[in-house]
């Protein structure tokens, strides 16, 4: 199984096994299975991943621990963005204070030095937090591709339950190994409540 997940071997497999998709999958976004428990969807995600499917996504009403990892998603990229925002806020804030009080409008307050940096710390701190928070919000939205008013999954039958009680696992038709009949059988073996075709 491990060999299958190796991208090199997978691409070789692709070149030898790639067959034109049957016409009935052309209009498909993917094949989705609906589960009733987080354990079931987690087990199914692992099975699907072991069979070498790559374009797989799970849709759950809350963050199920280990699910993203089971789908080979590890690095979020968020921490670096937040760090960048924090640094920008910190340096930008301090530079603004320094420029205002030293260069643009020097003002003698109680004979203190113009660049009295200890007095600049509180505002620098607030600007750091502000920068990091704004980057965290907008970075998270941008990486997630939100706002996105339309997505094919919204047309999946009973998908409104994905934000309430049920757990969906969808293998996209663009996956190189996508084969409707084989996948149907594989998903059936993971014990879903139902299996639905998701139209484009």
């Amino acid at each position: 199984m491990a060999a299958v997940t190796n991208p090199l071997i997978l691409s070789r497999n692709m070149s030898t096994e790639a067959t034109p998709k049957p016409p009935d999958t052309q209009h498909l976004y993917g094949l989705a299975a609906r589960f009733g428990t987080p354990q079931a969807v987690l087990a199914a995600a692992r099975t699907i991943n072991q069979h070498g499917y790559q374009r797989v996504e799970a849709y759950t009403p809350y963050a199920v621990k280990g699910l993203a990892e089971a789908l080979q998603f590890h690095a979020t990229g968020i921490p670096l963005i937040v760090l960048a925002g924090g640094l920008l806020g910190c340096l930008g804030g301090f530079l603004m204070l320094w420029y205002a009080n030293v260069i643009s409008y020097p003002l003698n307050i109680g004979g203190k030095p113009l660049n009295s940096w200890p007095a600049f710390i509180p505002i620098t701190f607030e600007m750091t937090v502000l920068g990091a928070s704004l980057f965290s919000l907008f970075g998270c939205l941008a990486l997630n591709g939100l706002p996105q008013p339309y997505h094919p999954m919204f047309k999946a039958p009973r998908f409104e339950l994905a934000t309430q009680t049920d757990f969906f696992l969808c293998i996209e038709a663009s996956d190189p190994r996508f084969n409707l009949a084989a996948l149907h059988a594989l998903l059936e073996s993971t014990g879903p409540i139902e299996i639905v075709e998701v139209p484009w």
Partner: protein, 464 residues
Amino acid sequence: MIDADLKPPPVLHPGQSLESVTNQITGLVMPRPIQRTWIIGFGIGSVLIMVLGYSVCWLISQGVGVWGINMPVAWGFAIVNFVWWIGIGHAGTFISAMLLLMRQDWRTSINRFAEAMTLFAVACAGMFPLLHLGRPWVFYWLIPYPNTMKLWPQFRSPLVWDVFAVGTYLTVSLIFWYVGLIPDFATMRDRAKTKPAWLIYGCLSLGWRGASRHWKRYQTAYLLLAGLAAPLVISVHSVVGMDFAAALVPGWHSTIFPPYFVAGAILSGFAMVLTLAIPLRAIYKLQNLVTLRHIDNCAKLMLITALIVSYGYGMELLAGWYSGNPFDSFVSQNRMFGPYAWSWWTIMTCNVMVPQFLWFRSIRRSVPTMFFICILIQIGMWTERFVIVITSLHREFMPSGWGAYEPTRFDWSTLLGTMGFFLAGFFLFIRFIPMISMSEVRELVHTSNGGRHEPTDFEPKYVD
């Protein structure tokens, strides 16, 4: 492994499922409940907003002289109310950020409305310094921006730090609240029965569909936001404390102010959380989600912060005596036996003596008693700010400059008006937004059931 009988009592009552919590929480918003309590509450809030509007219009047309402020006591009610309101806001951020970082999963049932409470409280707080400016329409002079006057704010003043601290606090609290709401807006969208509801909640949810990769990024971002908000909440009231401590006025010029202010803020904030939670859980039948354990835990936090605040009072008296500074020792005497002695004895009663009842578990778990104690603590914390502002200013150094302060009816009406603003805002919130975080409670249902989707095998110890 821990024995079943050593486990802490469950946060939620057993027997909850994903479906039951989703139905229960969305049911508070959709379908539209027609409740007399809501209409009465929102009605009172709206009437008081009109009182606020009238007071503010009169203030702007006549000037700050309509308030009781005068030359020795230039700060008056405006600053008392500002510090009080912003302190109340602190518990919301404390619950959502600090307790999240410390993995206190009981916070989940109360964090959403505590955060909403923060937003409205900070909005109320922000009004007072702006109105106190005298010319509130030029408030933007506080903000650094390129201007034709070629002037900058005086960045070495704590009063300007305050602008940044409160502004950042409001922005970050709003971001934190909204990020937490995105998955719940998606649930509301998917349950919407009418087109306008579907459209509005759909836009607010930004197209959230609960993809596992999205959840992963979302959780990282949420945790980082919590990590940022936790020191922020400490910094905000510290800066408010420094507004006072940086002045030379006896009774203000003290290094203990920042931590003592933060503890007082959290004390009044938790008192406000319970003041809101106790009626809400009764009216909306949320006893299965907001359990006695929540009230008990909040009470313990109130006890700790009350002890820190009491230590602060003690240190102020000690510093007055031990410093040998006649002005400092006069402040202590004047507070205890001067013309405003009633206010000092009120805070001793409400903030030092009353919280001692919280040592007793039976009191922490008695809902009506807790409600009463919370009201007393809020009165006490408001009076504490009154003591700090008024008694320090009215008799400073030179007896020739002494004076007295008496609030006018516009002082009272403005305070009452902001309470109405808070009330009305909060009632709108509980009407249109799920007041408990559904996505987090779902996770809690999962862990409360021991990771299995079946009822727990041990009975809850405390059922109310």
